[in-house]
């Protein structure tokens, strides 16, 4: 049920948000209990996750049908735009925390521990010198290899940058009402995203099993896996969103004038792209 007030579409009550809260609550309780060793933890996680997916389908499905039915005017569209932009900004700040940690470790804590700060060094690990990448002064004899920028990360950079181009081509096709071309280039974008993920999975596997580079590998391993891991998680979400949008393109949900769903996902994809560039430079190239 809904009402349009002065043209602005206002929903009248929705059970999706509370469903989402319940899902997150179960997910949180399940995960926390699992961390504390409860056997039922994973089941609760699964349940919470399933409800979350159900909620996403339901909520977004409602929004899509309202949109397709023409309930949203231009002003509603602008609200979605503001909403998505600031959501992306919040994501940027989340990554900023981890980039900050990387910066702090590389520029401050590792050099301090390694002798730039004479007293710290003397007090804790007298005479030990440290260089990035490191597993830390407490694990000085820990052997590992760092992840070089070539080949996989460079290939991945090319893949993501290309996907930024393909989605733009798709966008132009959408604006030109050329659905066939649109769908073709959207699948190309999805393919590039999926390939990126496969390479990254391979990279993680190599790191973990052959290079002794894991989350336990000191602050280098910590920042490496948290940054690339969270990024990979975002690429996964982005790829799923791309698939959904591509299917919607095929169904003809979008018009050349009105396609915020498409644009929102494109923005998200570009954001993921830009974060990757930061990663590529600060995690891989400037090793």
């Amino acid at each position: 049920m809904a009402a349009t007030h002065g043209g602005y579409y206002l929903p009248h009550g929705s059970h999706w948000p509370i469903t989402g809260s319940i899902a997150l609550f179960i997910l949180a309780v399940g995960t926390a209990s699992y961390f504390q060793g409860a056997g039922w933890g994973p089941w609760a996680m699964l349940l919470g996750f399933a409800i979350l997916i159900f909620m996403m389908f339901g909520w977004l499905g409602t929004v899509i049908s309202e949109s397709v039915a023409g309930a949203y005017n231009e002003q509603v569209d602008r609200s979605f735009r503001w909403g998505m932009s600031w959501f992306i900004f919040s994501e940027v700040m989340f990554f900023a925390a981890f980039f900050g940690a990387l910066y702090y470790a590389r520029v401050l804590s590792v050099p301090w521990l390694g002798g730039v700060d004479v007293e710290t060094n003397k007090l804790l690990w007298d005479g030990l010198s440290l260089n990035w990448p490191t597993a830390g002064p407490g694990h000085a004899d820990f052997e590992f290899e760092y992840m070089p920028a070539w080949p996989i990360p460079t290939i991945n950079t090319i893949l993501l940058l290309t996907s930024g181009v393909t989605i733009t081509i798709a966008h132009h096709a959408l604006k030109a009402a050329d659905r066939e071309k649109l769908v073709k280039w959207m699948w190309a974008t999805v393919g590039l995203g999926a390939t990126f993920l496969m390479f990254q999975a391979y990279e993680f596997y190599e790191a973990w099993h052959h290079m002794n580079l894991t989350m336990h590998t000191g602050v280098y391993g910590s920042t490496f896996f948290m940054l690339t891991g969270f990024h990979g998680f975002h690429v996964t979400i982005g790829t799923i969103m791309l698939i959904v949008i591509t299917l919607r393109c095929m169904k003809g949900h979008f018009t050349p004038e009105n396609h915020f769903g498409f644009e929102g996902v494109a923005w998200y994809w570009h954001f993921v792209d830009v974060v990757w560039l930061g990663l590529f430079i600060f995690v891989y190239v400037l090793i």
Binding site: L10, I18, A69, S90, M93, L108, S109, A135
Partner: protein, 536 residues
């Protein structure tokens, strides 16, 4: 589906849905505002009870009532509950009620999201408070959750982290909605520089929230992975640093304290012009001062870490940057005073709380300036002087502003005037007791009494007794507030549309109580503007 078909016949039931589930499913900004405000009130009393337990234990030196671990749980949870449960949701509740009405908008920009922002909170606090009953107890390392101490928490540890994640999500989604509403839902013709100051301060607060909360989420996520996934962010043996946590935390933490005071500035900037019957002095400078404070709040964080160890250049930078904030803050205080200059003032309860805010918040600002001086902060750090400082800015600052706002807008919300006599009683009891409660904490702090410790040296006894007495009087005085609210909801003298003689702004153009849907069609603001109502 049939969304559009329903659009037409939905006008048949414009009022709220019947039944209790209305509150769970609602997408109406007034309903959601009410939920936030009631939640906040509940948390004020839960957090307040914890505070009284702390004060009771501190009545005398030695260990009396509670064991030390429980005491630490109380200080920690009191902080978390008051900040994330009482103050922030209080302001968001006010934003929900007022922003659409003050902008002449039909509702918030994203009504379903709005419901979600609220309904994450009860779950987050269920998680948080349930930790009290877990093996190993709840969090006890302070609301700042510093490692390595935080990592010693028992079973409760991951529950606390996820609770913080949910609170953060709630704040971020709420802030996104507020920004979208302010940018996109203003009545035609209302430019940004015509917006009431409450709207301006909330716009900037929402920006701070979206910039700061994800950083907190990042910090606690690192705690989580350090605990369970073997990362070494905060472990020197792995090349990390526990101090790094403090940097990340306070990069969130300092903007956070401004998140809790900027909307208060906005409220006071609404109330003082009303009861001084004069437009706000220096509107534009207020806007710019707010923006400057927000900017500066991102480059002062390490004033919480002067004693932790920093290069000298860092100490100096953060000291001077912090002191710089006093300049725009001073502009604001000046403007409030100048607004009252030669005004024809009356002193109803909202005005009394607003005036107390101006004076007592300034005291908190001055003690902040003292703390900002790095060299002397070595004496004050982690002591009761800091406690006195932040309670002046948070209780007589943020909380007084929320109370003032509640009195100011209750007639609009309920349609009834609250009991002015009782309101005045509430004010005088509160303002007297709050100073008895917190002012002595300056003295014991300067003399060296540490915070977060259940016992203390005997020479601090007298002032602690005074403080505890003040605390109990203050705490129980708030029951009067609760009673006044209940009374106003149940009835009373009917309020006019313009409930206060000197009140200006869009919210006073519609009847009291405000109809369930206000401004279904965008209002003609030229009428309001012509009366010079623009932004007072």
């Amino acid at each position: 589906m049939s969304a559009v078909d329903h659009a037409a016949d939905a006008h048949h039931h414009e009022g709220p849905e019947p039944g209790l589930l209305r509150w769970v499913f609602t997408t109406n900004h007034k309903d959601i505002g009410t939920l936030y405000l009631l939640f906040s009130l509940m948390m004020f009393f839960i957090g307040g009870t914890m505070a009284l337990i702390i004060r009771a234990e501190l009545f005398q030196p030695g260990m009396q009532l509670v064991d030390p671990y429980f005491f630490n749980e109380m200080t920690t949870l009191h902080g978390l509950v008051m900040i994330f449960g009482a103050i922030m949701p209080g302001f968001v509740g006010l934003a929900n009620w007022q922003i659409p009405m003050m902008l002449g908008a039909p509702d918030m920009a994203l009504p379903r999201l709005n419901n979600w922002s609220f309904w994450l909170l009860p779950f987050a606090f269920t998680l948080l408070l349930s930790t009290l009953f877990m093996p190993g107890g709840g969090p006890a390392g302070g609301w700042t959750m510093y490692p390595p101490l935080m990592l010693e928490t028992g079973q409760a540890f991951p529950f606390i982290i996820f609770a913080v994640h949910l609170m953060g999500m709630s704040s971020i989604l709420g802030a996104i909605n507020i920004i979208a509403t302010i940018f996109n839902m203003r009545a035609p013709g209302m430019t940004l520089m015509m917006m009431p100051l409450f709207i301006w301060t909330w716009l900037i607060t929402a920006f701070l929230l979206i910039a700061a909360m994800p950083v907190l989420a990042g910090a606690v996520t690192m705690l989580l992975t350090d605990q369970y996934f073997g990362t070494h962010f905060f472990n020197a043996a792995g090349g990390g640093d526990p101090v790094m946590y403090q940097h990340i935390f306070w990069f969130f933490g300092h903007p956070e304290v401004y998140i809790m005071i900027l909307p208060a500035f906005g409220i006071v900037s609404q109330i003082i012009p009303t009861f001084a019957r004069k437009p706000l002095f220096g509107y534009a400078s207020m806007v710019y001062a707010t923006a400057s404070i927000a900017f500066l709040s991102f480059i002062v964080w390490a004033h919480h870490m002067f004693t932790v160890g920093m290069p000298l250049a860092g100490e100096l930078f953060f000291m001077y940057a912090t002191m710089l904030i006093a300049v725009p803050t001073g502009v604001k205080v000046f403007n409030w005073v100048a607004t009252m200059w030669e005004g024809s003032m009356t002193f109803e309860t909202p005005m009394l709380f607003a005036l107390a805010f101006v004076i007592l918040f300034s005291i908190g600002g001055f003690s902040g300036l003292m703390l900002a001086i790095a060299s002397v902060d070595f004496q004050y750090q982690d002591g009761y002087f800091v406690v006195a400082h932040f309670h002046y800015v948070l209780v007589t600052g943020a909380a007084f502003a929320i109370i003032a706002a509640a009195y100011y807008w209750l007639p609009k919300w309920t349609g009834n005037m609250y009991d002015e006599q009782l309101g005045k009683l509430h004010f005088w009891l509160s303002v007297a007791s709050v100073n008895v409660l917190y002012f002595p904490q300056h003295f014991v702090g300067l003399a060296g009494m540490p915070r977060r410790i259940p016992d203390y040296a005997v020479q601090f006894t007298e002032w602690n007794m005074v403080s505890t007495v003040g605390g109990f009087v203050f705490g129980f005085s708030q029951l009067i507030f609760l009673w006044i609210i209940i009374k106003a909801i149940r009835g009373g003298v009917k309020a006019d549309a313009r409930s206060w003689e000197g009140a200006h702004g869009m919210e006073w153009e519609i009847p009291s109580p405000a109809p369930y849907h206000s401004f279904q069609t965008p209002p003609d603001i030229s009428k309001v503007m012509a009366r010079g109502d623009a932004h007072s």
